[in-house]
Each structure stands twice: as structure tokens, then as C-alpha cells.
């Protein structure tokens, strides 16, 4: 029968055609573009409009960015070099780089100290942030505040050492007494630590050498982004435990503790941060005689910590309230006491729920540290608005400086936010 075919059909393909490429309109970038950018007429119009807007933005920004001047002694010199062309005057960042980072009074030969403290910060926070790391590394975290204090402020090493001894003694007394009752351990530990601090007040001046290994730098000389970082890190890490304590206190069945916590939280939340800062810098100056003032940095840290701990307390209270009552009852039915139930059952769940809220507060707090510029502390924004813009050389440079500040803050805040997202994924146990 093949003959019939041989006459009626001239050619029979015996092998399959190799698969042809899809038509141009159905593949690659065309397909993607047609489906995503030009699917319908309104879509196409919006795409064209968006491309035009992007073009406008880039046409304005790119020449400014790429044509920028990085080496000039002043704004006038910058403009002479540019000679009418568009271009940023980034030379101000080069000229005042150290001032932006460290403030204008930190001794320049000592810049390595805050830099080292900054590097060590990552070593110290790593075991807290990433709990896959060996738990023994937490010792580094506990030592870090004392090392960082010594590096940044300098002076005699005995102040941080004595502070460390005080905390050590307090903890030791706590472990001794806590078997009898938690209250005895808690207050006994605090009393022991205070006693050590009090004694250290007499011992340290005797031990302090005339020329300490690291020359002392007063708080007033701190500034720049370093100050923002110091305030942010200190206040966030202090306000988290205080906030947890306040949140638990607010739920306490003991009226006194409950009232104290509620009044504290409601009072602090009802007051703007800036008024608290003014109280710290202005009002407290009246309460202390001029020579025995509490350090301004410490006053500001106390105020910001109070502020953010009140907010964190409310976020954590939200987490606690979100837990079903059965979780509390489960703790009770297992025979756990209050501290154990909180530590093992309630808080791990409540804190997990609260992560986005806590991170929100932490990011907000970090940015709020720029408010200290209104009480004449020279943080990054204070440096820009004050000394740098007020110098005859650089008066009039706004975009470059404030853009740089925004970039620094963005890097840190975006980092915090990314970490929190990772943490949420890591802790996701609900198999959704």
C-alpha cells in the first residue's frame, strides 16, 4: 500500500521536526513585557508614563551624582570647578568625614578607639542575634559594655572593672539567695551591687593612675554618627529588658506594682520625647549644683530609655494579651511557678508575636536619637545643621550632607529590618 502513498503524496517526513522557537512576540523579554507592561491599553499608558517619570528623575540625579566633585576646599571652589555644569559637591563629605562620624571635638589621634568599639559591637551582638552560635560566646556580650565604655571614654580602667565586679557580686548574691525566695535574691543582689559601687567610689580615685593607658575623653566631646550609634545601641538594649519588666508589672496581680507600672507607662507615653530631652538638658541643670552635674550623655540615655521602654512595654503587653488563656493555665497545671511559667512558656511566645512591633520601636528610636541636636549635642544631624553648614566654607551645601545622613540611617535601619524578617522566618513554628 505504500505505493499508493508514493503516488499521491510527494514527500513523507519520517523524523519529527525539531521544536521551533516560539514566535518573537511569545518569548523572552517581549512576552514578559507584553504580559506585564503592555497587557492592556491603560497598562501600556501607565508604563509609558512611568518610564518618562523614571527618565526625568534619572536625568536630574545621574549627572548630579556622576559629575560630583570629590576634592575641593570649599563650596565656592566646587562651583568654580563645575563652572555652571550640574554636579554635587561631595567634597564636603571628604573634608568633614571625620567630623560627620566622630564629632568635631573627639581627639583625632584617638579615632581608632570608637572604631574598634564599633567592630567589637558586631562580635558582641552576634551571639544575641544568632542563637545558632555557641552559647559560651555570650560571655563576650556581657563583657562588651565595659570594654566599649573604656575604649570610648578612656580614663582609668578601674571604673569599668569595678562596675563589672559590682555586677558580678550582685549576681553571686542573687544566686545564693534566690533559692529561698525570688524577692530576697532580687533585692539582695541589687543591694550587694550598690554596696560595691559605693565602695568603688572611694577605691577608684586611689587606684587611678595619673596618666591612664587610654587618655580620658569627656562626654561633651562625643559627636557625629558615633553618638547616634551609641545612643541607639545603649537605649535599645536597656529598654528591652525594662520594657519586658514593665509589661509583666502591668499585668501583675499585686496592686502596688501594677499601679507603679501603669502610671509610669501612661505618663511617659503622654509626653513627647523632646520635652523629656529638654528636662534632661535644661531642667536638671537647676537641680544639681554646677560642679556635680550628672553627665549629659547619661541623662539623655536615661530619658530616651524611659521613653522607649514604655513603648516596648505596650508592644509586649499586646503579645501577652494575644496568647490564649490556656497557655497560662498550662503553665499552672504543670506546677511551674510564676518565673518559670513566664520564662519557659509565656514570654517566648509573646516575644515572638511582638517582634515586628519591637523592631518598629527600635528603628524609630534609632532615628529619634537625632533629636538630641536640639539640646546642642552634636550628633550626625547636629553636626550638619550646626558646625558644618555654619562654616564659611560649606554654608549652602544641603543635598549632599543630608543625603549622606539619610544613607547612613537607611543602611542601619534596613539592616535591623532585614534581621527581624529573618528572625520571624526562623521562629516560624506555626507551619502556615
Amino acid at each position: 500500500m505504500s505505493d499508493t502513498h508514493a503516488q499521491s503524496v510527494a514527500f513523507v517526513r519520517e523524523t519529527a521536526l525539531p521544536p521551533a522557537e516560539p514566535p518573537v512576540a511569545e518569548r523572552g523579554v517581549y512576552k514578559w513585557g507584553r504580559e506585564n507592561l503592555f497587557a492592556t491599553w491603560p497598562n501600556a499608558l501607565l508604563t509609558v508614563a512611568a518610564i518618562y517619570v523614571i527618565y526625568l528623575v534619572l536625568a536630574a540625579v545621574l549627572p548630579w551624582l556622576l559629575n560630583g566633585i570629590w576634592n575641593a576646599p570649599s563650596l565656592t571652589a566646587c562651583r568654580e570647578i563645575l563652572d555652571g555644569q550640574t554636579g554635587g559637591c561631595f567634597a564636603v563629605l571628604v573634608d568633614r568625614w571625620n567630623q560627620l562620624l566622630f564629632g568635631f571635638k573627639y581627639p583625632s589621634e584617638l579615632y581608632w578607639r570608637p572604631t574598634l568599639a564599633f567592630v567589637l559591637l558586631f562580635v558582641a551582638v552576634a551571639p544575641v542575634l544568632f542563637f545558632d552560635l555557641p552559647r559560651k560566646l555570650l560571655i563576650l556580650t556581657l563583657l562588651y559594655p565595659f570594654v566599649a565604655y573604656w575604649l570610648i571614654w578612656g580614663g582609668t580602667i578601674w571604673i569599668p572593672v569595678m562596675a563589672l565586679v559590682g555586677f558580678g557580686v550582685g549576681y553571686y548574691v542573687y544566686t545564693l539567695l534566690v533559692q529561698r525566695s525570688f524577692a530576697a535574691g532580687f533585692f539582695g543582689g541589687i543591694a550587694a551591687a550598690v554596696a560595691v559601687f559605693y565602695a568603688a567610689g572611694f577605691i577608684v580615685p586611689m587606684l587611678a593612675p595619673a596618666n591612664p593607658l587610654l587618655p580620658a575623653v569627656p562626654s561633651r566631646d562625643l559627636g557625629g554618627f558615633m553618638l547616634n550609634m551609641m545612643l541607639g545601641v545603649t537605649c535599645v538594649s536597656l529598654s528591652l529588658p525594662i520594657g519586658i519588666a514593665l509589661a509583666l508589672g502591668r499585668q501583675s496581680s499585686m496592686p502596688l506594682i501594677k499601679i507603679v507600672c501603669v502610671v509610669f507607662i501612661e505618663f511617659i507615653r503622654g509626653v513627647p520625647l523632646i520635652t523629656l530631652l529638654f528636662v534632661a538638658s535644661v531642667m536638671l541643670a537647676y537641680f544639681f549644683p554646677p560642679e556635680s552635674q550628672v553627665d549629659l550623655f547619661l541623662r539623655v540615655v536615661i530619658m530616651i530609655t524611659m521613653f522607649s521602654s514604655a513603648y516596648i512595654a505596650e508592644v509586649i503587653r499586646g503579645g501577652l494579651a494575644a496568647l490564649p488563656k490556656g497557655q497560662y493555665e498550662a503553665g499552672d497545671s504543670l506546677g511551674l511557678d510564676y518565673a518559670q511559667a513566664m520564662r519557659l512558656i509565656i514570654l517566648p511566645q509573646a516575644l515572638k508575636i511582638s517582634i515586628p512591633g519591637i523592631v518598629n520601636i527600635a528603628v524609630g528610636l534609632f532615628k529619634d536619637t537625632t533629636l538630641v541636636s536640639v539640646i546642642s549635642m552634636f550628633d550626625l544631624v547636629g553636626m550638619i545643621r550646626g558646625p558644618i553648614l555654619a562654616s564659611t566654607d560649606w554654608n549652602g551645601v544641603y543635598w549632599e550632607l543630608l543625603g549622606f545622613a539619610a544613607l547612613l540611617f537607611f543602611v542601619v535601619c534596613y539592616g535591623i529590618s532585614q534581621y527581624s524578617q529573618w528572625l520571624e522566618r526562623r521562629l516560624a513554628t506555626d507551619h502556615r
Binding site: V282, A285, Y286, F287, P289, P290, V374, P387, A390
Partner: protein, 347 residues
């Protein structure tokens, strides 16, 4: 520049402070500041957090400027060392409490001498180191040559300052209208003005000159001739410590007198050796006991002049016509040149 609301706040703060810790505050205020400064070996001088030409730290962190020079002169007069100054930066909101609480010994922070500040806030202004006044900056293209032509103009104005009130007064007095564009800071004012959000920008004339100096094309903008307010800026000290007030007052006077008498940082050493002008001899301590009367060494004024030069030199170096700010002497010329600088005799 005089922030009005702040003063109200300030009064309340002072009242509260006085109420709660009257003893401490009074104790701090009544102490002999001159002895404190000598014992400390450093002068605590309150300055601004930064104002072009008047006070700002340079790239090395050294404070320079017109107000800063007054601090250095006082330090040189009292301690013999112009570098023995601890500069305490203050904002418009913290300056008065810093002085009242004893955190600083004196304030040299372009502060306008007003009745209520002198009397009600319990400070003593020891003199005037810069006679300022409120002016107008307009683009040349506007074609305006007098502030009276600004009828219907949009004017950028800092809120909560006396400049705002002066502006309202001036336009009402001349029966012309304007549209205020409220701004918060000088930086914002520059941007708004350059962006064309307002036809004219008004603040202290010295500030306008400094602002104009930062423009890409300063020549396209003019300062109108009208000065609509009096803003005498001067250093101030706490009320009640007259010895210290005298020291600051006469150090400032010495700088002004030195210019009048032709004593400059270049020739002060030579003139203190041989001069036949008895007033120069008294000023520089080769004759008479003026230094001892103040409780200072005989060469106090010589040290003050050597610190940064006489008034004219300080002016020329920081804000004068050779600098980018380019202020003319105007009212701040010696009385012999038609200005207002007039110091009582050194006798």
C-alpha cells in the same frame, strides 16, 4: 534674632527652677565668677551651635568667628591665654538656662539686647558687639528698590521670632499688604527663597548677607536699604555679679578703644613699650592701675588685643568685606567714622 515663644517658656522654666531649688540656683548665681574662672583655669563661654561668620568650629574643631573672638579676648584678659576657653554650644532654646544655671560664665551668642531679657530674665548685657537690624533680600529681577514697593509680596519669615512681629508692624505702619510664608529655620528659608516660594526673605541683615554669600549667583540678589528693626547683639552675664560683668564689659570696651586709639595686634607690643598717648598707656597697663581695679593683671587689655586683634581686625577677619560674608561696617564703625561704636574713656 529673638525667639518670642521661647522666652515665655524660658520664664516658666526659670520660675519652676527658682521655685524648686531656689537655694542652689541662687548660690550658683551669687558666687564670684571671676574667682571661679581663675580657679578653674578655663572660661566657659556659651556660643551658638553654628552661625556663619559669628561662631563655628573649623575642619580641625577649632572654634572661630566674631562672637568666638569675644570669648577668646575675655579668656586672654582674665587668664592670659586665649586658648583657655571651653566653648559650650547652645541653641536658641538652651542658651538662657545654660547661663542662669551657671553652666557657662558668659554668653557670646548673637543675642539681642531687649528690655525683658535684661530686666525680667535677670541678665546683664555688658555692651553691644554688633549692631544688627532686620532687612530684606530680594531677587534683582523683581525690580524692587525699596521695601515700600513690596506691596502684595510673599515674604519668607521665621515663625516665633521677633522678626515676624517687626514685619507685621512695618507693613501695617506703611499701609501695605504682604503674604507671609512661614519657615522654621534659616536653611529652610534659603531653599524656599531660591525655589521662588517667596518674593522676599527677611531676617537680620547680617544673616541675609551670609545667606546671599552662599548663593550660586550672589549678584542676582540685593539687600533692600530699609532696616526695619534694632537688633543690638551683645555678650551677656548673670545679673548680680557686677565684678565679673565689669571684666567682660571692659574687655569688650578695650577691643573697641584699641581700634579707636590705633592699637592693633601688630603694634600692641611696640606701643606698650613706648607711647606718648597717655590713654594708650593706661589701656595697655604701662601707666595707672586699671588692671588691678578689675582684679586682673596690668597687661589684661594687651593680652585681650593680642588674642585676635582690636575690634576692627576681628570684624575684618570674620565678617568684613574681604570675607565671603562681606558685611560693611555701617553702624558698626567707630563713632569718629559715623558709626555707633563709642566706648567710655579708660581713665
Amino acid at each position: 534674632m529673638a525667639e518670642n515663644q521661647e522666652e515665655v517658656k524660658m520664664k516658666r522654666t526659670v520660675f519652676l527652677g527658682a521655685l524648686t531649688v531656689a537655694g542652689v540656683a541662687a548660690g550658683a548665681a551669687a558666687a564670684a565668677t571671676l574667682d571661679d574662672v581663675k580657679a578653674r583655669g578655663k572660661l566657659n563661654c556659651g556660643v551658638t551651635t553654628g552661625l556663619v561668620g559669628f561662631a563655628a568650629p573649623d575642619a580641625n574643631g577649632e572654634w572661630t568667628g566674631f562672637d568666638v573672638s569675644v570669648c577668646r579676648a575675655v579668656a586672654a584678659a582674665v587668664l592670659g591665654d586665649p586658648a583657655a576657653v571651653e566653648f559650650v554650644p547652645t541653641t536658641g532654646k538652651t542658651r538662657f538656662t545654660a547661663l542662669a544655671s551657671g553652666e557657662v560664665d558668659m554668653l557670646a551668642r548673637n543675642t539681642t539686647w531687649t528690655f525683658s531679657r535684661d530686666v525680667d530674665l535677670k541678665f546683664d548685657f555688658v555692651g553691644v558687639n554688633y549692631y544688627d537690624g532686620q532687612g530684606f533680600l530680594v531677587p534683582k529681577a523683581l525690580g524692587v528698590s525699596s521695601a515700600k514697593d513690596l506691596d502684595g509680596a510673599a515674604v519668607c519669615i521665621q515663625t516665633g521670632t521677633t522678626t515676624e512681629l517687626n514685619l507685621a508692624d512695618y507693613f501695617r505702619k506703611n499701609n501695605i499688604s504682604y503674604e507671609p510664608v512661614p519657615i522654621e529655620t534659616n536653611a529652610e528659608g534659603q531653599q524656599q527663597y531660591l525655589a521662588g516660594a517667596c518674593d522676599a526673605y527677611t531676617t537680620d541683615a547680617s544673616g541675609l548677607a551670609a545667606t546671599r554669600a552662599t548663593f550660586e549667583a550672589p549678584g542676582d540678589h540685593i539687600l533692600l536699604p530699609e532696616i526695619i528693626s534694632k537688633e543690638p547683639l551683645g555678650p551677656l552675664v548673670r545679673h548680680g555679679d557686677n565684678e565679673w560683668g565689669d571684666v567682660v564689659r571692659w574687655t569688650l570696651n578695650a577691643l573697641i578703644a584699641a581700634e579707636e586709639l590705633g592699637v592693633s595686634s601688630a603694634n600692641v607690643a611696640e606701643m606698650s613699650g613706648n607711647t606718648n598717648n597717655p590713654e594708650v598707656a593706661r589701656l595697655l597697663g604701662t601707666e595707672g592701675e586699671l588692671g588691678a581695679m578689675l582684679g586682673l593683671s596690668a597687661d589684661w587689655a594687651k593680652n585681650a588685643i593680642m588674642a585676635g586683634g582690636n575690634y576692627g581686625e576681628i570684624f575684618a577677619k570674620n565678617i568684613g568685606e574681604e570675607t565671603p560674608i562681606g558685611l560693611a561696617r555701617g553702624l558698626n564703625a567707630q563713632w569718629t567714622d559715623g558709626g555707633l561704636l563709642y566706648t567710655p574713656p579708660f581713665r
